[in-house]
């Protein structure tokens, strides 16, 4: 499957179809999701395009649909799930839908306003009812002038104060709270009070109005009041009936609308997309033909053709659309065919830069190296297991999480396979580092043994044990070290040794450098593959070979030194430090003692350094000089023709000089970047060591400070304390060690890929293939 290792081959195709079948054809292409329409009218502004009115109509319809959806949701009517229909609305359907939407909107607005008026009337009538009910209780004052009304409960004290100030106490005020009835399930839970003021004068009315209290005329005698009450009651009953009918009608309308809501929404979306696409095409003079240019993968040309024929058949047109592939010098877009597993990795590559057309795609290698480098920095099999289980849960319940529509959770769900692989690889590196929640497993039996160190076999006596705080296990005493290393991973005895870090640091640093150089060499080799594919064999000799020799002679030799020192037996006191060896090699300093690992070290090292230094001018000068010579040859050949075009020659010469300077500068930058980059990038890979050290130490601190406190309590309540402390340990593990350290290691592994790996071969300046796809539009909303 060549297609995932580099982006697919694309072709530029011209489509001619009839205007009547345009909608159906574009609809079919949208469902296929494999073509990208090129903009044939790049100069025009949005409102100058041909179908701008139709797009506006679609947007208006979307607005009405949103309003309808709001109303439906407010009334708690469930919206049934969407059955995606493949039928496409033809232009006459557009008008039909439009008028339907307008009518629905008008209806709904009318219903809403009617309902509000009715509700207001109802509230007033209820208030009068209450007023009349409590009025009888107030009648011991047979004053003539009184005012009755209803006021909001909170405002009553202020009202009373104002009345005191106004009338200097020359009034009588009675009030009672309205207790809400069971049927009064109005939308407003505002507490109201009924009040009656017996007073002289008319300013009272103005004051009441200022308090937004409502006044109601109340008759003086009991008989009139009774009549009013019956009257009000009848009106209330009538109004209740009308209100119920209105609500029912509203609900029926909304339910009918809700049934079609999803279908209409998707139709309108599709139409808008189709009109937008039509805006990108050209319409010829006769208004009968539409010309479109599309980018399409070569392997899918057949399916595109079939889709177009299908579309034109649906519209009942007689002519089938014409598909015409054209040659072009423009750069096609980059298309990488992905499935749900590979899309996560492809997206993290594309986040840095979309690859050039048909350049090598780093994604397939990233699928292994990224989780691996993450795991080297994370390295704990207990945490890895928790991470794997979490990712498994995400994978299995994927739709449930997508429905939540939370951005953070969406990102997590998109990366679920990445997290799963990261967890799996972390279990593996955790077993190699022999680290599970900062404790080691002793599966095979440690290769070190303490008993042979005791007298008479070894040097330790009772006094040694009593006097010293630290004891050394000496591997030279026979029996202490069995001679066979622990079969898989780090020996568990290192977990309880006090010089654990000296051993592990040295091991992890050297391992990081080895992995770094291997990763970078792999990157340089990928650039060779790129040169061969683009038939750029000149660059193989001018760039690839000096780059590889430079890296191998210096850093390949460093790897050799590390591996040699690991494999060969030597006394640890007299073993030379690799770092010092390397520095002295670069400085040609062979004066100090004990600087030899093997016999012929000095001449080999001198040879390698000289070769590496020679690569620098090769990288720097070879390519520009060759180009210069080629241009001079061309200029020489064209000289007789230019005698009459004197200015032409001069201009060509000037431009030749300018471009030569450009080439020299570019090559200089590339050489410096590569050579210095080799050193700095190799050192950059030491972050693999640094982060794994940080993770191990954090894990150990968490165990010692949290869980060990509870484990060391042996009194009665020890187990309960242990249970509580374990919960705290679990929460802290997940938040600090999984989330924080996980994000940190993820970021650093990503940086190692984006910078140190990809700058050896990846150009990343293409543009992404964005086909017209209805599925993608639906997923994005």
């Amino acid at each position: 499957m060549d297609s995932f290792f580099r982006s697919e081959e694309m072709c530029l195709v011209q489509l001619f179809f009839q205007t009547e079948s345009a909608h159906n054809c574009i609809n079919e292409l949208g469902h296929l999701g494999l073509v990208q329409f090129k903009d044939l009218n790049p100069g025009t502004v949005a409102f100058q395009r041909r179908f701008v009115k139709e797009v506006k109509k679609c947007e208006e319809m979307e607005r009405i649909l949103r309003f309808l959806e709001n109303e439906v949701v407010k009334s708690n009517i469930p919206i049934p799930a969407d059955f995606t229909s493949e039928t496409i609305p033809v232009p006459r359907d557009v008008l039909d839908l439009e008028s339907r939407f307008d009518k629905l909107e008008q209806e709904l607005k009318e219903i809403n306003s009617n309902r509000d008026t009715l509700r207001q009337n109802f509230t007033q009538l209820m208030e009068i009812n209450h007023l009349l009910k409590v009025f009888d209780a107030f009648l011991f004052y047979l004053h003539d002038r009184f005012v009755a009304g209803v006021i909001k409960h909170e405002r009553f004290p202020a009202f009373e104060k104002i009345l005191w100030r106004l009338f200097h106490g020359n009034f009588v005020l009675r009030h009672a709270e309205i207790k809400p009835h069971e049927e009064e399930n109005m939308a407003d839970p505002v507490k109201k009070d009924v009040f009656v003021v017996f007073v002289q004068g008319d300013q009272i009315r103005g004051k009441i109005r200022k308090f937004h209290a409502s006044m109601y005329p109340c008759p003086n005698n009991a008989y009139a009041r009774k009549e009013m009450r019956t009257n009000v009651n009848t009106r209330i009953e009538d109004l209740r009936l009308v209100l119920k009918r209105t609500e029912e009608f509203r609900e029926t309308t909304l339910t009918a609308a809700a049934a079609n809501l999803q279908e209409w929404a998707s139709k309108v979306k599709k139409m808008k997309a189709i009109y937008y696409t039509l805006n990108l095409c050209n319409i010829d003079i006769t208004q009968k033909l539409i010309v479109a240019e599309i980018w399409c993968p070569v392997s899918d040309l057949n399916s595109v053709h079939t889709a177009l024929i299908h579309g034109s058949e649906q519209s009942g047109s007689s002519l089938s659309p014409v598909v015409n592939r054209i040659q072009t010098q423009q750069t096609p877009p980059t298309f990488n065919r992905v499935n749900s597993f590979t899309s996560g990795f492809q997206s993290i590559i594309d986040a840095y830069g979309v690859g050039n057309y048909q350049e090598i795609n780093p994604a397939p290698y990233t699928m292994v190296t990224f989780p691996f480098l993450f795991a080297v920095m994370f390295g704990d099999c207990g945490h890895g297991l928790v991470m794997t289980l979490l990712a498994l849960w995400l994978i299995l319940h994927q739709e449930h999480f997508r429905k939540l529509k939370n951005e953070l959770i969406d990102m997590l769900v998109d990366g679920r396979y990445i997290i799963f692989l990261m967890g799996l690889f972390s279990i593996y590196t955790g077993l190699i580092y022999n680290d599970c929640f900062s404790k080691s497993f002793n599966v095979f039996g440690s290769s070190w043994s303490v008993r042979p160190m005791f007298h008479p076999h070894g040097p330790w006596t009772n006094d040694t044990l009593h006097d010293s705080g630290h004891l050394h296990l000496d591997p030279l005493v026979s029996g202490v070290y069995s001679g066979n290393p622990y079969p898989f991973g780090v020996d568990p005895i290192w977990n309880i040794a006090s010089n654990k870090l000296s051993f592990l640091n040295s091991y992890k640093m050297k391992m990081s450098v080895i992995m770094g150089v291997a990763h970078m060499l792999f990157g340089v080799t990928l650039s060779l593959v790129n040169y061969i594919f683009f038939r750029n064999l000149k660059d193989v000799a001018l760039q690839f070979i000096p780059e590889v020799i430079f890296m191998l002679s210096l850093f390949g030799y460093l790897i050799f030194l590390i591996l040699y020192k690991w494999c060969v037996v030597m006394k640890s006191e007299s073993a030379p430090s690799i770092l010092l060896l390397f520095i002295n090699m670069m400085l040609f300093d062979y004066s100090s003692e004990g600087t030899v690992l093997y016999r012929t070290q000095k001449p080999v090292q001198i040879f390698l350094v000289v070769v590496a230094v020679l690569m620098v001018p090769w990288l720097l000068f070879a390519k520009p000089l060759l180009l210069y010579r080629k241009h001079k040859q061309l200029k020489f050949l064209s000289l007789p023709f230019c005698l009459s075009l004197f200015f032409g020659v001069k201009k060509a010469f000037v431009s030749l000089q300018v471009s030569m300077a450009d080439i020299f500068v570019y090559q200089g930058i590339h050489t410096i970047e590569y050579c210095l980059g080799c050193i700095s990038n190799t050192a950059s890979y030491l972050r693999l060591w640094a982060l794994s050290l940080a993770h191990a130490e954090l894990s150990e601190v968490l165990w010692k400070m949290v869980l060990q406190v509870a484990l060391r309590v042996t009194s009665g309540m020890g187990s309960v304390l242990l249970a509580v402390t374990f919960a705290a340990f679990a929460v802290l593990t997940v938040t600090i060690l999984l989330v924080m350290e996980g994000l940190s290691a993820f970021l650093h592994a990503l940086r190692l890929h984006w910078v140190e790996f990809q700058n050896k071969f990846y150009k990343g300046s293409g543009y992404k293939f964005t086909p017209l796809s209805f599925n993608r539009m639906r997923d994005m909303q």
């Binding site: 929640f437 242990l722 679990a730």
Partner: protein, 101 residues
């Protein structure tokens, strides 16, 4: 039946996850303590006297190991109870959702 629902669905889910993790991890820790694993030496609260005044050399230390191991098993048992409780809460929450619908 009086409603014994006292935590929402999310708290119950967290509860059951931590309980399952606690049961497995504490049970394994208990096993490793009772088999006197050397790696866990720092977690055993022995003092100087335990090492010096010992009739039968490692037995005092082993006794302490076993004590810590039993503590772990009891804590694992506590987590089994918490798991059962959380599971009940989840079931009650589900039932409440269905009844409201």
């Amino acid at each position: 039946m009086v409603s014994c629902l006292f935590c929402g669905p999310k708290l119950a889910a967290c509860g059951i996850v931590i309980s399952i993790w606690g049961v497995i991890m504490l049970a394994m820790l208990g096993i490793f303590f009772t088999t006197h694993s050397a790696v866990l030496i720092d977690d055993v609260p022995f003092k100087e006297e335990d090492m010096h005044n010992d009739q039968d050399p490692p037995h005092n230390i082993y006794k302490l190991y076993n004590q810590v191991g039993y503590n772990c098993f009891i804590a694992a048992g506590i987590y089994v109870l918490v798991a059962a409780l959380s599971f009940c809460q989840i079931k009650l929450n589900h039932r409440k959702e269905y009844m409201v619908r």
